[in-house]
């Protein structure tokens, strides 16, 4: 009986907590429960959620990607540079950003599988490199239409309407102009990654690599190729996050995106606790991102000061990690 209770707690505890949180805020904070508030929560977690889904793929193969935040801000700056200074169209800008994300992921993968740099260090190095690189073309300035360039000319290009549409368009759902485009993209990517990791043979092999890479290679899995692919997925999703951020801001702001890395890693790790998975999974990551979003929205509406936010996020993360590793180890211990 006790075992069953523990099992139930591990499996549904986090979801029950999530529902409890929603019920509590709905009662305590007027206006929390409603489509507008829901859309706002979703919007606030969409970009970190997309990054978190990418990092989930690297966690699945037993790796880690610390460069996602830097890839996102690089994509932000690259799209601004491409449209404002080089006067490219939206499609070119998006293609450049996605290509950059894939390339960075590929290099991360190479560093890890070919040059044997430990994953945390390789992606940490890449993070520094990108943070520096994105500042070089503009001497550390933000990019906006009308800025004066090095040679004295003025940047004439603008963020095209099509590009801004990616970040600012809202679809009608129940209410006019309710659902923001980034939320739709977040949900789309979440479904894709969920299908990929959970239901394709590629996903299954990636989990096998994360669990026992040697066993995976001895059944003929191209382990290195899958690892590189995981980092490329992570790089591409991070660049999508950066594109959406740029499209929302409408300028190449050098200072934005500071919190992206920590928030998205937290979401992915909180995801371990969802449904008692005790391993990285797309559904858990999406719920983890939502959990943090709901908590912060509720607290904001109850007038909690903004500077408590990081503390709350950290507390949730630590609690989720204890939940995952301590309770799950007790469960497997009981199984034997």
């Amino acid at each position: 009986m006790n075992d069953r209770l523990l099992d139930f707690a591990i499996r549904y505890g986090f979801l029950i907590l999530l529902v409890g949180l929603i019920v509590y805020f709905s009662l305590a904070a007027p206006g929390f429960f409603g489509p507008l508030s829901a859309a706002f929560v979703l919007q606030s977690v969409a970009i970190t959620g997309i990054l978190a889904l990418g990092v989930t793929c690297t966690l699945v193969v037993g790796g880690f990607d610390l460069s996602i935040g830097a890839v996102a801000t690089s994509a932000l700056m690259l799209s601004a540079y491409s449209m404002v200074i080089l006067e490219h169209s939206a499609i070119v800008a998006v293609a450049l950003c996605l290509g950059m994300g894939a390339l960075v992921g590929f290099i991360n993968g190479l560093l890890i599988v070919k040059f044997r740099v430990p994953d945390l260090l390789a992606t940490l190095g890449m993070m520094f490199l990108l943070i520096g690189l994105q500042r070089i073309p503009t001497q550390g300035n933000s990019i906006a239409t009308g800025m004066t360039l090095n040679d004295g000319t003025v940047a004439e290009g603008t963020f095209s309407a099509a590009f801004l549409w990616l970040g600012r368009h809202r679809f009608d759902l129940f209410i006019e102009r309710l659902l923001p485009m980034p939320v739709v993209i977040f949900i789309g990517i979440a479904v894709l990654i969920w299908l990929f990791l959970g239901f394709t043979r590629h996903g299954r092999l990636m989990y096998a690599i994360g669990s026992n890479a040697r066993a995976a290679s001895l059944v003929g899995t191209p382990v290195n190729a899958y690892k590189i692919a995981a980092y490329m997925i992570s790089g591409v999703t991070a660049s999508i996050g950066g594109i959406l951020l740029a499209a929302r801001l409408g300028r190449g702001d050098i200072a934005s995106g500071n919190n992206l890395l920590l928030d998205s890693v937290a979401a992915a790790l909180i995801g371990f606790a969802v449904l008692g998975a005790a391993r990285p999974n797309a559904f858990g990551t999406a719920i983890g991102a939502l959990f943090v979003g709901i908590l912060l929205q509720g607290m904001t509406m109850m007038n909690a000061p903004y500077y408590t936010q990081d503390f709350v996020k950290g507390a949730v993360l630590v609690a989720a990690l204890v939940f995952t590793f301590y309770l799950s180890s007790r469960r497997t211990g009981a199984g034997h």
Partner: protein, 505 residues
């Protein structure tokens, strides 16, 4: 005995229901090398761990130079004069420090040492220790840059700095080349002359011949042989180690039909003797040999993990030279590796995912897995092999060792192999599961050639049509598994008379 350095009487140790040491009697005399032999799982490591204070004994007594010896922990055993150099060398050295610091490390942790390291003095003393041990390496070199043998020497030199009465060496040559091993042996000779009682654990026959003054053999947690009169009877020691009670399994020998796998003048290492071998359709060939005989290397070469030094391989007449594991599998060569925990089991997965892992592609529609077919195929195998489980989606960790191994073998029976390689398929498997696996391998042998890599004779006699003996990277004997001459087989395995009996036909 009064003269014994260490004497052990009726030592007992159990882990749960598993009775590992069943009354061990052992004595070590100063100035002699006692070799401890035993197959995997015989209880050697447990015995060593009890002696060196890692595990407490459940029963029995140990005396060290006449005094009662009951170490609380490893540090206590060392203080009392029992020093162990473990199998993994890096336990004994600190790779990032230089040689001098490693040699003097124990000095640094002494209480009276003081805060600052006296660099010159430390180096002078280290040089003295190195000279005394006959170690000839640059004292400023980082240990991680040294060859394995040198690291081993330094680990032993560190152990010797404590002037032990008893030195235990656990398979010290397992990662050494022949010349490196020679240097280690010279060091051991020197220590023997200094009056240290040495317990040397190995099943490499060449080491044993070189060093042993006495041989103690363990099997199934008990001493199964003691040899102390010169000349030592090595063959009897191997028999005591491997055992060959006649098994109850009756093998109806199949000679096979058409040749499937042909090895011509294959050399496992440059300089090794060429191997010629033919395995036929429907035949089960057991390749037996001790550790270091080249079995694992041959399996690796056949499975595309390493290239041969020379020679050719053919499968059904066509040249076969796999570039990778994927390539080998694509050409119909499957390997179930040894040490399933490290090499085969995916601990996070259920039974069905574990079993079908190599063949997910054929169980998918496009990229998407067909979970129902996956479960169906697994269930069929579970029924055929008698795997005891609740459902095929249960975690692999819920199964017993024998059932886990059945899943790992079944993995490679899902699709038709041309050549099936099984490396130590009975490792960590109870007798019931071993019989089930053996029966199933023999029953499905048609349509492929099966090669089983084994250390134990019993197991080979149960499963094989033909037993091929490897010794030092060469085939030294071949026996049809019918009215087999066990004495000749054991002689081949221990390599005692290579030129005369059992040479290749």
């Amino acid at each position: 005995m009064a003269g014994d350095a260490l004497s052990v009487r009726d030592l007992q140790k159990s882990f749960g229901k598993n009775h590992v040491l069943r009354g061990i009697d052992l004595s070590l005399t100063p100035g002699s090398v006692t070799v401890l032999m035993g197959a995997n799982g015989a209880g050697k490591s447990t015995l060593v761990k009890v002696i060196c204070g890692h595990h407490p004994a459940d029963g029995g007594t140990m005396t060290l130079a006449g005094d009662r010896f009951t170490p609380h922990d490893a540090a206590d055993a060392i203080r009392k004069g029992v020093v162990t150099v473990h199998q993994s060398i890096d336990d004994g050295v600190i790779p990032d420090l230089d040689v001098a610091n490693n040699l003097m490390l124990d000095r640094l942790v002494e209480r009276g040492h003081g805060l600052f390291v006296r660099e010159t003095q430390l180096r002078e003393e280290a040089a003295k220790v190195a000279a005394a041990m006959g170690i000839d390496v640059n004292l400023k070199a980082r240990v991680s840059d040294l060859a394995v043998a040198d690291r081993q020497m330094i680990a032993i030199a560190r152990a010797m700095a404590r002037a032990p009465k008893v030195l235990i060496l656990d398979e010290p040559t397992s990662s050494l080349s022949a010349t490196e091993a020679d240097r280690l042996f010279a060091l051991i000779d020197r220590l023997r002359d200094q009056g240290v009682a040495i317990l040397y654990i190995s099943h490499r026959m060449s080491d044993i011949r070189r060093l042993a003054d006495r041989i103690v053999v363990m099997r199934d947690g008990a001493i199964s042989g003691l040899f102390e009169t010169a000349p030592l009877d090595y063959e009897a020691a191997v028999t005591a180690m491997l055992g060959h009670r006649m098994t109850e399994v009756d093998v109806t020998v199949q000679d096979g039909t058409t040749p499937v796998l042909e090895l011509s003048d294959l050399r496992l290492h440059s300089g090794a003797a060429p191997i010629n071998l033919e395995a036929r359709d429907g035949e089960v060939v057991a390749l037996v040999g001790l550790l270091g005989s080249g079995k694992s290397r041959l399996a690796e070469i056949l499975f595309g993990m390493a290239g041969p030094a020379a020679g050719t391989m053919r499968i059904s007449g066509a040249a076969y030279s796999p570039r990778s594991v994927e390539d080998a599998i694509a050409q119909g060569v499957f390997l179930s590796p040894k040490d399933r925990g490290t090499n085969a089991v995916v601990p996070d997965f259920g039974i069905a995912d574990n079993m079908t892992l190599p063949f997910l592609k054929s169980l998918s529609v496009g990229s998407f897995l067909d979970a129902r077919r996956q479960r169906g195929r697994t269930q069929a195998m579970v029924d055929q092999l008698g795997i005891v489980c609740q459902t095929v989606t249960d975690s692999i960790g819920t199964l017993s060792g024998g059932n886990q191994q059945k899943v790992m073998i079944a993995r490679w029976l899902l699709e038709q192999a041309k050549v099936l390689l099984l490396d130590e398929p009975f490792q960590g498997v109870d007798i019931g599961a071993r019989r089930d696996i053996g029966r199933h391998i023999r029953a499905t042998a048609q349509g492929r050639a099966t090669l089983v890599f084994l250390a134990e004779i019993d197991e080979a006699l149960e499963i094989a049509d033909r037993i091929v003996v490897l010794h030092e990277n060469a085939i030294v004997g071949e026996h049809r598994n019918q009215n087999i001459d066990l004495a000749a087989l054991v002689a081949d395995i221990s390599g005692s008379d290579i030129p005369t009996t059992g040479a290749q036909p």
